[in-house]
């Protein structure tokens, strides 16, 4: 079987290369272990690698300050390779074999849904840093990214306002998976509640990594020609955004005519693009690199020093990990242990300074209170904030605009102790 020997050798080389990228999981007696579950290869590597580095930076920083509870903190990195079932396997490996105390990870909602049963079965803790569709609250997950009411709804409200151009007609573009479909369901219900007619909404889905946008962009143009101000709401995910924006630019669609507001495009995604033709297109996030606060300045400086590249940008999910990690550290200190149940109790009401000048709070529905910012793309690939909420917005796990969800409450403290209940589990009579 000579040829198979070769294949095996090839695979061994591939395996060895992948192995090099993982931090060796040496068993040390007195360490606290932090699991990092982000794809370092495959389609999502573009976004998730940065988050792995963010956690490594935070761990590094914590150790320089003397560790946690008198112990050294160690990051255990695994690579789920953008492969959704592999996420579940790697999560199990982290919790049972590597015995980590907490996990920071996942990007796409599919991957989160895939690891969810593992975390619930083994009663471990996951910090999920990305904006998502909501409609979920697990006892074992803390959602540090934006819920739809912290991103999608304010963005659409802005475009409806006079400053945003008073849009009357809507195109909902998305990648074909759970996040865009659920978000658009919520948006559709929201638009209807604002008396937007069915014929004024166009919905379109494309596969992951879609690269031929000619037809869709031409259709958007046609749809916009009906005499009402049109706006595009994009939940296009991953690197399909690059050819999408290129096609927009080439077909001469300017933000002044048809603005595109995106929920998955941040500084990192724009880094691979010539942004000159895209000036004015929008994004809604809870953080922009361009925000001028001393906390943000310090964070960017630390990031550049850690990654040894002055050109690297920061983005919203990085801030989410920053907040999540700091909250977890505070909760562990308060609880005096890394025991999952004790830390979870300590997490509620935990406050951390965010990077945009406010103080974020962890609520009992496992979602954060954060400010909402809307920014316009500039020539240098950064966003200029053109609108922001006055205070913090409490993340809402269950959307008020979907009738069956509006009834549900997520509250993991007494008397509710539930992620999706109509009435409390522990009734006080």
């Amino acid at each position: 079987m000579k040829p198979f020997g070769k294949v095996a050798r090839g695979l061994a080389i591939a395996g060895a290369t992948a192995g090099l990228m993982m931090t060796s999981a040496v068993q040390a007696a007195d360490t606290i272990k932090v699991g990092v579950l982000h794809s370092l290869s495959g389609t999502m590597a573009i976004s998730e690698t940065t988050l792995k580095d963010t956690v490594l930076m935070m761990v590094d920083d914590l150790n320089k300050k003397g560790g946690l509870l008198g112990k050294k903190v160690e990051a255990v990195v695994v690579d789920p390779a953008s492969n959704w079932p592999l996420f579940a396997e790697k999560a199990r490996e982290l919790i049972t074999a590597k015995k980590v105390d907490v996990v920071f990870g996942c990007w796409t909602s599919v991957s989160r849904k895939s690891v969810l049963p593992v975390f619930e079965e083994l009663n471990s803790m996951l910090f999920y840093p990305v904006q998502y569709e909501g409609e979920e609250s697990s006892r074992n997950v803390f959602y540090t990214g934006a819920a739809p009411n912290q991103q999608a709804i304010p963005a659409v409200e802005y475009l409806m306002s006079e400053d945003g151009g008073s849009a009357k007609r809507w195109v909902l573009l998305g990648t074909d998976y759970v996040y865009p479909r659920t978000t658009n369901k919520i948006l559709r219900a929201f638009l209807k509640s604002k008396s937007v007619k069915e014929e004024d909404i166009m919905e379109n889905y494309t596969p992951f990594g879609h690269s031929d946008w000619q037809t869709i962009v031409a259709e958007v143009k046609k749809f916009a020609g009906a005499g009402k101000k049109t706006a595009v709401v994009s939940t296009i995910n991953g690197d399909a955004n690059v050819p999408f924006y290129k096609e927009l630019a080439n077909q001469g669609i300017k933000a002044e005519d048809i603005p595109v507001v995106a929920f998955s495009v941040g500084e990192e995604e724009l880094a691979g693009l010539d942004t000159k033709p895209l000036v004015g297109h929008l994004a809604a996030w809870n953080y922009f690199m361009s925000v001028e606060t001393s906390e943000n300045e310090a964070f960017i400086k630390k990031w550049h020093a850690f990654i040894k590249d002055e050109k690297r940008v920061t983005n919203d999910p990085m801030e989410a990990h920053y907040i999540g990690f700091n909250m977890w550290v505070q909760a562990v200190k308060q609880a005096g242990t890394t025991d999952v149940d004790a830390v979870r109790q300590a997490m509620y009401g935990q406050k951390v300074k965010n990077l945009t000048g406010g103080i974020s709070v962890m609520n009992t529905n496992h979602h954060l209170s954060k400010p909402v910012l809307i920014g316009e793309v500039q020539e240098d690939g950064q966003f200029d904030t053109v609108w922001s909420t006055d205070g913090l917005v409490v993340g809402d796990a269950w959307s008020d605009y979907i009738p069956e969800s509006a009834k549900l409450t997520a509250d993991w403290t007494y008397p509710w102790v539930c992620g999706n209940c109509v009435k409390p589990n522990h009734m006080t009579n």
Binding site: L40, T215, N250
Partner: protein
């Protein structure tokens, strides 16, 4: 919107009344400029209107600085400064006197949003309607058309009366009619404006006319006057008829464009798989290597000779061919030649190679996408009045793919190497007996196929992401095209790619991108059931062996 326009009009009228002379005194102007630094966008908008209404010749430069985000507010006294570059350094100037100012106070950028951007473009346009350059005058008229502010009526009429160039006059008349339609109250003028706009009937004009026909929530029409609605409807129905035809042309172009991308991705595979019979799963990675070669070439050009940037793709083409071709030869000599006649093992080995190559590129260039710039001649599009949009990058790729196809056919048919290649694939022992070094020919053929895949990577870097996964998204499509077109037949690959592209694009508007692709797959599967050898089956003895 209406109310806002009325307020703006009032502000302008008031401003016009107060400023008799064109040259406003500096104190007033400084105060108006300072108003640009207010936080609220609607207040900034009013400040722009007031500045514009002064008609002062210095206003255009200030508005332009605001548009390019070079206006700064000094925090200490709220004065507005203009940032300019001098010898590569940023210098701050007084916007009116242009004297340089040393500032120690904190500066805050004056922010603008889409609405202000549109307004600024319109205002700057209307101030440059008398520009010497006719191209600039056309751009100015178009900007005025887009913003349609009432205050622009007078400057536009003045510019139109003295305009010598017919083409520019046309654009100005278009802009003038749009403003008349929106802001005038005399129904006769407005009907005439609709008629004038009917001469143009491009998508922008159609959008404007359509907005007259919109029904409000309470059932009333946005445009109360029936005669004007009827006139607009007449123009639109006439335009609609031609729009359907041009829509089909647009679809056809998009289909051919998708087909040309498929052709480029598949044409190398048509050689390694089609002619040699090697199931080469690493084909996509050759495309990826080509794309990364383009990135490296551009990177070198950016640092050493930025002037050559527009030619970077032409330099990248031979480079990508050599890099991918060399890797191809190495793979053939190192692995594949031991596996001829064992398709399953070839498949596994090449798949392994593809993983190794991906990880190699990921380790060297990092997991994030690399930006490959588009030369200026490939940006933008030809836009016709009928609404047809032909983007330059797509046109370039269609032409390029046909050229690659042509050159490849020439090599196979007319060169000594092509002859040897065909001899070896048709009858290896006989070719060997005639003194052809079959091993060398195998290596070169595989290298040729890989090199062409590398060239495809140069083209694909212009429309897709340059990431380690670039190849994976094309490998399935490439096999589909080669099998559908007929294994071993280049013409089959051409016809297969173009027909799959066109069918896909005609389905997409109805079925969506996801379902459309599934439908095409099902059709190809059914077709292969009927004709297992594809569209253009090879006949003769070579097939039987």
């Amino acid at each position: 919107m209406r109310a806002a326009l009325r307020i703006i009009a009032l502000v302008i009228a008031a401003a016009l009344a107060s400023t008799a002379a064109a040259q406003t005194d500096d104190a007033t102007l400084t105060k108006l400029v300072a108003d640009l630094g207010q936080k609220s966008f609607s207040k900034k908008s009013k400040a722009i209107d007031a500045l514009f209404a002064t008609g002062d010749p210095r206003v255009a430069a200030i508005l332009e600085a605001m548009l390019s985000r070079n206006l700064y507010k000094q925090k200490s006294d709220n004065a507005i400064l203009v940032k300019t570059k001098k010898d590569g350094k940023s210098v701050y100037q007084n916007p009116l006197t242009k004297t340089a100012i040393e500032t120690t106070s904190k500066l805050k950028k004056v922010r603008i949003n889409n609405k202000l951007r549109k307004k600024l473009r319109g205002a700057i346009g209307s101030l440059s309607l008398q520009n010497k350059d006719p191209v600039k005058r056309i751009a100015a008229a178009d900007a005025v058309f887009k913003s349609r502010t009432k205050g622009m009526l007078a400057p536009l009429e003045a510019a139109l009366s003295s305009e010598p160039d017919d083409a520019v006059r046309d654009r100005m008349r278009r802009a003038l009619s749009a403003i008349q339609l929106v802001h005038k109250s005399d129904p006769e003028v407005r009907v005439a404006a609709v008629k004038t706009l009917g001469e143009f009937a491009d998508p922008e004009v159609r959008g404007l006319l359509n907005s007259l026909l919109v029904k409000r929530g309470d059932g009333s029409h946005a445009e109360a006057n029936v005669t004007i609605r009827a006139a607009a409807e007449e123009v639109l129905t006439a335009a609609e008829r031609s729009a359907a035809f041009w829509g089909t042309v647009q679809n056809l172009f998009q289909g051919i464009s998708l087909g040309s991308v498929l052709l480029l991705a598949a044409i190398g595979l048509a050689i390694t798989f089609g002619v040699m019979g090697v199931i080469n799963m690493a084909h996509g990675e050759m495309v990826m290597l080509g794309a990364y070669t383009t990135f490296v070439v551009q990177d070198i050009i950016r640092t050493t000779a930025p002037g050559l940037f527009d030619l970077s793709l032409f330099i990248a083409i031979p480079a990508a061919f050599l890099v991918a071709g060399a890797v191809g030869v190495a793979i053939e000599r190192g692995v594949i030649r031991f596996l001829y006649g064992r398709p399953l093992e070839t498949l596994l080995a090449t798949w392994g190679i593809s993983l190794v190559l991906q990880q190699f590129v990921r380790s060297v260039f990092g997991p994030t996408n690399r930006e490959v710039g588009t030369p200026s001649w490939m940006q933008g599009a030809i836009q016709t009045a009928e609404g047809l949009t032909l983007t330059y990058n797509r046109i370039a790729i269609i032409v390029f793919s046909l050229m690659v196809m042509g050159v490849l056919l020439l090599v196979l048919r007319r060169t000594w190497f092509g002859l040897q290649m065909r001899a070896v694939t048709q009858n290896r022992p006989m070719a060997s007996a005639m003194g052809i070094r079959t091993g060398w020919v195998d290596a070169m053929t595989f290298g040729l196929g890989s090199g062409i895949a590398g060239i495809a990577g140069v083209a694909l870097s212009q429309i897709d992401n340059v990431s380690p996964n670039l190849g994976q998204s094309y490998i399935i499509d490439s096999f589909l095209v080669v099998v559908f077109g007929g294994v071993g037949n280049l013409w089959g690959t051409l016809v297969g790619a173009l027909s799959l592209g066109v069918v896909n694009k005609f389905l997409e508007p109805y079925a969506g991108a996801v379902l459309g692709k599934i439908f095409v797959l099902v059709v190809v599967i059914l077709f292969i059931q009927k004709r297992p050898r594809g569209l253009f089956a090879l006949k003769g003895r070579a097939v039987e062996s």
